[in-house]
C-alpha cells in the first residue's frame, strides 16, 4: 500500500511524537518556573513571568516559530560571542522543540498558576508549621495536590501542542505533515496522504483523551464530589 511510502510516513509520525513529547517536557519545566515566578513574593519575578505569558499568548504560534527559528540562532550566537564562547549550530529538531516548548510554557504557566492557587492555603501553613522550607512544602505538599486541578488544562494544552507540531513542517522539519506533502506531491495523490496523516493525528488525540480520563480518576482518589 502507498507505493512504498509507508515507512517514510511512519518515520514522520515518530518524529512528530518525538517533537511533541520533547516540547511538552520543555513546556512543563518552563510552565512550572513561570507559575512559581508569578506566585513568588518578588515584584520583579512577577512582572517578568506575567510579560512572558501575556506576550507569548498574544502572538500566533507561526509568527513566534518563524521569529525564533530564523532569529533565534542569530540571537543565541550573538549572545555567545559577547560572552566569548564558541558559536553552536542548532539543528532543526532542537530549534523546533525549543520554540514549541517556549510557546506552550507560557500557556502551561497559566494552567499551573490556577492549579496552585486552587490548593487550599491551609496546606502551605500546615507544611510551614512542621518546619518545612518553602521549596519543600511546594514539592511535597502542593505539587501532588495541584496535579488534580492541573490535569484538564494540561491535557488541553497537550492536545493543542500536538496539533501545533504540524507547524514545524513549515520550517522544514521532516515531521508527519512535511512527509505527507512530499509523498503526496511525488505520487500526485496529496489528498490520500494528508488524509492518512490526519487519521494519525486523530488517533493521537483520541488516545490522549482516554489517558486523561484515567488520570483524572487516579488523581481524584479520595475526593468527595457534590451530588448534582
Amino acid at each position: 500500500m502507498f507505493e512504498g511510502y509507508t515507512g517514510y510516513i511512519v518515520a514522520g509520525a515518530t518524529t512528530t511524537l518525538q517533537i511533541a513529547l520533547s516540547s511538552l517536557a520543555v513546556a512543563t519545566v518552563l510552565g512550572l518556573i513561570g507559575a512559581a515566578c508569578r506566585l513568588a513574593p518578588n515584584l520583579l519575578l512577577n512582572r517578568v513571568a506575567e510579560a512572558y505569558s501575556t506576550l507569548v499568548r498574544g502572538v500566533p504560534d507561526l509568527v513566534l516559530m518563524l521569529l525564533v527559528f530564523y532569529g533565534g540562532q542569530t540571537a543565541a550566537n550573538a549572545l555567545l560571542e559577547a560572552l566569548g564562547l564558541p558559536a553552536i549550530d542548532f539543528n532543526q529538531f532542537m530549534a523546533g522543540v525549543l520554540t514549541l516548548g517556549f510557546i506552550y510554557g507560557a500557556y502551561l504557566s497559566e494552567t499551573f498558576r490556577g492549579a496552585i492557587m486552587a490548593v487550599p492555603k491551609g496546606q502551605w501553613e500546615a507544611g510551614w508549621a512542621y518546619g518545612m522550607s518553602r521549596p519543600r512544602v511546594f514539592l511535597r505538599i502542593i505539587l501532588p495536590q495541584m496535579i488534580r486541578f492541573a490535569i484538564p488544562g494540561y491535557t488541553n494544552n497537550w492536545l493543542v501542542l500536538t496539533k501545533a507540531t504540524a507547524l514545524v513542517s513549515v520550517i522544514g522539519l521532516q515531521d508527519m505533515m512535511f512527509r505527507a506533502r512530499e509523498a503526496g506531491a511525488a505520487t500526485r495523490e496529496p489528498f490520500t496522504y494528508l488524509l492518512v496523516v490526519g487519521a494519525v493525528y486523530l488517533a493521537i488525540t483520541s488516545v490522549s483523551l482516554l489517558l486523561l480520563k484515567w488520570a483524572e480518576k487516579r488523581y481524584s482518589a479520595g475526593v468527595r464530589m457534590g451530588e448534582i
Partner: protein, 233 residues
C-alpha cells in the same frame, strides 16, 4: 543591532497595511460564516436522538482532533487530486488560496463554536426550561426565546477566546501564498534577509489586535452579561 528603518518605507508599510486588511477579512468572514452555521448545529448537538447529534459529534470530533494546517492543506492542495473537483463549477473558487483559507478557517471555528454553544445550552438552568414549558411554549419557541438568547450571551467569554484563537489561526493562510500580516513579514524577511525586525513588527500588530479584541469583548460582556453580574448597591 535592530534596525526598523526599512519597515517604514512606504512600500513596506503598504505591504503591512494590505496584510492587516487580508487578515481582518479572513477573520471576519470566517467568523461570521462559522457562527451562523454553528447555531443550528449546536441545537442538533444537544438533541436526544443519536441520528441527530451523531453526525455533528463526529464533525466536531474530527475537526477538533486534527491540526488546522492539515485541514487547510487538504482543501487547498488535496482536493486537486480528484478530476471531479477539477471539472466542477466550484473549481475556480477552490483553486483560489483566499477562498480555501476562509473555508478552512470557517469549518474550524464552526466546530469549536458548536461545542461551546452546545455546552452553554446544556448548562441552562432547568428552572428556566420548566418555566417555559409551563406557559405552554413549543420546542421551537423554547429555543428561540429562552435557550438560544441565554446560551449565546453566556458563551461570550468563551467566544472571545475563540475569536483570539482564530485571529492567530489566520496566520496559517500565509502558508498557502496569501499575503496576510505573517505573509507580509515573511516576504520582507526573504527580501532583506532580516530575521528579527519583520516578524517582531508582525508580532506587535497581532498583540495590538489581540488586546483590541479582548477590550471589545469586555465591553460586550458588560452590556450583555450585566444581568449575571453581582448586584451592586
Amino acid at each position: 543591532m535592530l534596525d526598523f528603518t526599512m519597515l517604514i518605507e512606504p512600500d513596506n508599510l503598504k505591504l503591512y497595511a494590505d496584510g492587516l486588511l487580508t487578515t481582518l477579512k479572513l477573520l471576519l468572514v470566517s467568523l461570521a460564516c462559522g457562527l451562523a452555521v454553528s447555531v443550528p448545529l449546536a441545537v442538533l448537538r444537544v438533541a436526544r436522538s443519536p441520528l441527530l447529534y451523531g453526525p455533528v459529534w463526529l464533525y466536531t470530533y474530527v475537526i477538533r482532533g486534527t491540526p488546522m494546517l492539515l485541514q487547510l492543506y487538504l482543501i487547498y492542495y488535496g482536493l486537486s487530486q480528484f478530476a471531479v473537483v477539477r471539472d466542477s463549477l466550484a473549481w475556480p473558487l477552490l483553486s483560489e488560496a483566499s477562498f480555501c483559507a476562509t473555508l478552512a478557517l470557517a469549518i474550524n471555528t464552526c466546530a469549536y463554536t458548536t461545542e461551546m454553544l452546545a455546552g452553554a445550552i446544556r448548562a441552562t438552568s432547568h428552572g428556566e426550561v420548566e418555566a417555559a414549558k409551563s406557559v405552554g411554549m413549543s420546542r421551537a419557541t423554547l429555543y428561540r426565546r429562552i435557550l438560544l438568547p441565554s446560551a449565546l450571551r453566556r458563551s461570550l467569554p468563551a467566544y472571545s477566546n475563540e475569536v483570539v484563537m482564530m485571529l492567530h489561526a489566520t496566520s496559517l493562510a500565509s502558508t498557502v501564498t496569501l499575503l496576510d500580516i505573517t505573509g507580509a513579514a515573511d516576504r520582507l524577511y526573504s527580501t532583506y534577509y532580516m530575521p528579527f525586525e519583520p516578524f517582531l513588527a508582525a508580532a506587535l500588530i497581532y498583540l495590538l489586535l489581540t488586546w483590541g479584541l479582548v477590550r471589545v469583548f469586555r465591553k460586550l460582556e458588560g452590556r450583555y452579561l450585566a444581568y449575571l453580574a453581582p448586584r451592586s448597591h
